[in-house]
């Protein structure tokens, strides 16, 4: 069974090519890490998947079919970097979580589902009636995850979801991502510039540079035996890692 699949995806903004012929698979039930420096095209690839960036060429498919762009079924959901601004400040947490839920449920069912989701991300379900301004960054990012889960997605794209958070809270959110993935069997495309973070959550990793995927494989192999110079450079740039420095 195939999950999210990018085939020869190209995104151009005017004369600037942000993503250049990228092919990438996120298999069902797997977490694929996507790493690369700023401007390497990671986020653009993610935005193209949810329709926020125009596709110049190529195909993005979900379970073999194109990603639905309208209708009440929304199988691909994205969680964004900044938890402070990504939630509507005027909508209660419960409303935000319930908004993208599939149709055909009663009000009570929706409320129960909101409570279940908040509980799943370790937020007190009583917070459903609060506004996001009452929550801390880590709590908001949990709500953002619950909100994405509310749409009952097959695949979640997490775009730098921990980089706006304090280190201690990053750990808690990453544990939550791992836990959710295990419990729900989610497919996740996990974008980060932080190799340590990707190593922690992803079974596979793809390395992007200047709009192209330069290396792709199981996390353990890519991070211990990098075959591309750029991956080696990235690894060497991780603070506190002095081993395996084999730059020319």
């Amino acid at each position: 069974m195939t999950g999210l699949s990018f085939a020869d995806v190209t995104v151009r903004y005017g004369r600037m090519t942000a993503v250049d012929g990228v092919s990438l698979e996120v298999p069902e039930g797997q977490v694929v890490g996507l790493v690369g420096e700023s401007g390497s095209g990671k986020s653009t690839l993610a935005k193209a998947a949810v329709g926020l960036a125009p596709l110049t060429a190529g195909r993005i498919s979900l379970g073999g079919a194109p990603v639905p762009t309208r209708g009440r079924h929304r199988p691909l959901q994205m969680v964004f970097q900044d938890p402070y601004s990504s939630l509507d400040p005027r909508m209660t947490i419960g409303e935000s979580v319930a908004e993208a839920m599939p149709p055909g449920r009663s009000r009570a069912q929706r409320r129960a589902e909101v409570e279940r989701l908040l509980d799943l991300v370790h937020i007190d379900p009583a917070a459903a009636s609060a506004l996001p301004s009452r929550l801390s960054g880590g709590q908001r990012q949990r709500v953002a995850l619950a909100r994405a889960l509310g749409a009952n997605p097959r695949v979640i794209i997490a775009d730098e979801i921990t980089s706006a958070l304090d280190v201690s809270i990053q750990g808690a959110v990453l544990n939550l991502v791992r836990e959710l993935q295990r419990e729900l069997g989610l497919s996740i495309l996990f974008i980060s510039h932080n190799l340590a973070v990707v190593r922690y959550v992803a079974s596979h990793v793809a390395v992007m540079r200047q709009g192209r995927v330069v290396e792709h494989g199981p996390t353990a192999r890519v991070l211990t035996e990098p075959s591309h110079d750029y991956t080696r450079e990235l690894l060497a740039a991780v603070p506190g890692r002095t081993t395996r420095r084999s730059r020319p």
Partner: protein, 337 residues
Amino acid sequence: MTVTVSPTAAPPPADQARVGLLARPWVRFGARRLGRLVVSLWVLVTASFAMIHLIPGDPVRGALGPTAPAELVEARRQALGLNDPIITQYLDYLRGLVTGDLGTSISSRLPVAEIVAQRLPATLVLAVLAFLAAVVVAIPLGVAMGVLTRRGHGRRTELAFTTTSIVVATIPDFLIGVMLVYVFGVRLGWLPVAGNETAAAYLLPVVSLAIGPAAILARIVRVELVTVLEADFVRTARAKRLPARTIYLRHALPNAVTAALTLGGLLLSAMVAGTVLVENVFAWPGLGSTVVQSILTKDYPVVQAIVLVYGVGVLVVNTLVDLALARLDPRSLIREG
């Protein structure tokens, strides 16, 4: 591991039970704002009282004319209480206000309260209709323009809209009134040019009063909407694949109208003042035309009372807008400190 939500803006329920209603920030804000209203009203009342004493010369002599016999002037001064010590006059004035006695018109000898009661409804109807018209036109127009000109879309539309709206907004309302009278009343003869006897007679005064504020309001709504459409939570909503209508109406509009509401309140107060000029253009039988006539005939008790009514109107509107804002946007409570 369970994370409990700790509300920071509102005290926990136990606390609330102890200190009661006043613990709610909104109630505290409301009480403070009403206190400020009372102080403003006192200043207004005192200023309107002082007005009659600050005008040069003898107001009664001015009203009755230079040829009036001295005994008559003296008798009228006595009747108006102008010969009493100033503090007595002030207390009498306050007592009169509290009991609804606004004095007697110098020229018509009618109770001023009666004149105001007779004239006020026409002015209120005019101001409220004009305000509603401005809001009903401005919000959809501003939203439509915001959507059309978001993120560098529709550069030409934007230029055309901003230019037209600023031109319309800067024409004084009485001038618009005169132009409308000329075109639709005199040239085309479609609409009545004076009075408020028929429904059609409302059209021109309401339009001339509403058109400027509508242009300003639409500009603000557009700018706010364009800003909100750039916000991350709108991007989240788009990434959720919500329909465009839901994004604009549920996410963008409520976040955009706060500033518009603040301005709307100011515009409503400005409209109250605008009625004075527009009423005179259209011979509208309201307070505005009465106050001008009373100034011309130097009928100070009437002028005093109408100034007071206008002032109270502006203060009350501003307070209501502040309270509504505090209810809709909790951030304004914090700004108030």
